[in-house]
């Protein structure tokens, strides 16, 4: 057992981890941040996606100890400072991009990385970028629409800022 320290959504957090403690278990059980979900625990579904040092990873497939000193962003960090939904989250709500919502935290985190690297993705690029995220409810159509609408909203916001 050792104590590790991670900057989660801008706040320094410390906790105990064994050699085999997964990042997702550290977030959920040690830090009590349960927004990140475990859908499969076999690296397949992407419900557990978070960002480590700016890159999306499946937090069920990364050890917590490997993230000692790292910067992690989870779904809890995607809302605006006043607690209202962030742009990608709001797009999911508007486009009916979720039904049960179990996959949504991972979807939002994957889309956030996708739009950072490619602000104007085509539909094919969105579907390709969401290959690691499985949804058993929606049939993906409205998730793609949410990603498109978030891309448009972010582009509009960027233009307005210029």
């Amino acid at each position: 057992m050792s104590t590790i320290s991670i900057t989660v959504n801008g706040k320094q957090k410390s906790g105990d981890a064994q050699g085999n403690t997964l990042l997702v278990d550290f977030l959920r059980s040690e830090l009590k941040m349960t927004g990140t979900h475990v859908g499969c625990d076999t690296s397949q579904c992407g419900a557990c996606v978070v960002h480590v040092n700016g890159e999306s990873v499946k937090s069920c497939s990364v050890f917590a100890s490997a993230c000692d000193g790292a910067t992690v962003t989870t779904i809890e960090g995607m809302a605006n400072d006043d607690g209202s939904l962030g742009v990608i989250q709001a797009a999911f709500q508007e486009q009916h991009g979720l039904q049960c919502g179990f996959c949504t935290p991972g979807m939002v985190m994957s889309i956030a990385e996708m739009l950072k690297n490619n602000p104007q993705p085509t539909e094919a690029e969105i579907r390709e970028g969401l290959k690691g995220n499985i949804c058993r409810c929606t049939g993906y159509h409205n998730i793609v629409k949410a990603a498109q609408s978030a891309a448009a909203a972010l582009a509009g916001a960027a233009q307005a800022a210029e």
Binding site: S43, G46, K58, M114, G132
Partner: protein, 265 residues
Amino acid sequence: MYSFDYTKPTDLSAAVDSLGTEGAQAMGGGQTLIPVLKQRLSQPSILVDLSGIESLKGIRRMGDMLVIGAGTTHGAVAGSSDVSGAIAGLTELAGKIGDPQVRNRGTIGGSLANNDPAACYPSAALALGATIETNKREIAADDFFQGLYATALEEGEVITAVKFPIPVASTYQKFEQPASRFSLTSVFLAKMADGSVRVGVTGAGADGVFRHAGLEQALSANFAASAVDGVEVSAEGMSNDLHATPEFRANLVKVMTKRAVEALS
């Protein structure tokens, strides 16, 4: 998972020392190893995470060779202009591995060391005639892969880099198994500077990755999709599972090779 100790050394010699401990195991990106550990199919005493060793990462061109550090992620390979400028087939291959999250963590060294019969990189290493560099020696790709999940690596030996000769042209044609995202049957085709054509096949062989001599001869003599028609690709030695029969895989070898030739024509 069984319990184990975890260490993340920042230099190779410390990693090699730790790997000398009884029951120690190396970890690259963990994208294969962590699922294996969860299934309790492996019980290391100590896990030596190689991802903190900067000297194992990076891509550089050395004359007519492209050298990729063993700890370089699939995503870094897919996004590298040094790679796409030299070996376009590797860009295609790395960009089609799994999904973005797997590509952000998984490494070329881990993929080669694991030698999964459906993994992508082994076909490129064979087709390009790569050299696998370890902390002890250099191993030719033709000698490196030794059947399902088996390689020439010795206990505690660490892959440090992979040296790829730069071909005239190359492409990777992946026929994906959509549930696993691995290859059902895929072909890496390289046209080398000496005029030879080399064909690496993954996902198909019951003994893992292989080169196909018949296809290589036919295409070296006549680089045309029609040349593939005359080659017999036998179902014997092809793997058989719920996803595909040996006959289906044998047919796919020809189909994917033709697509590769067309992509380069």
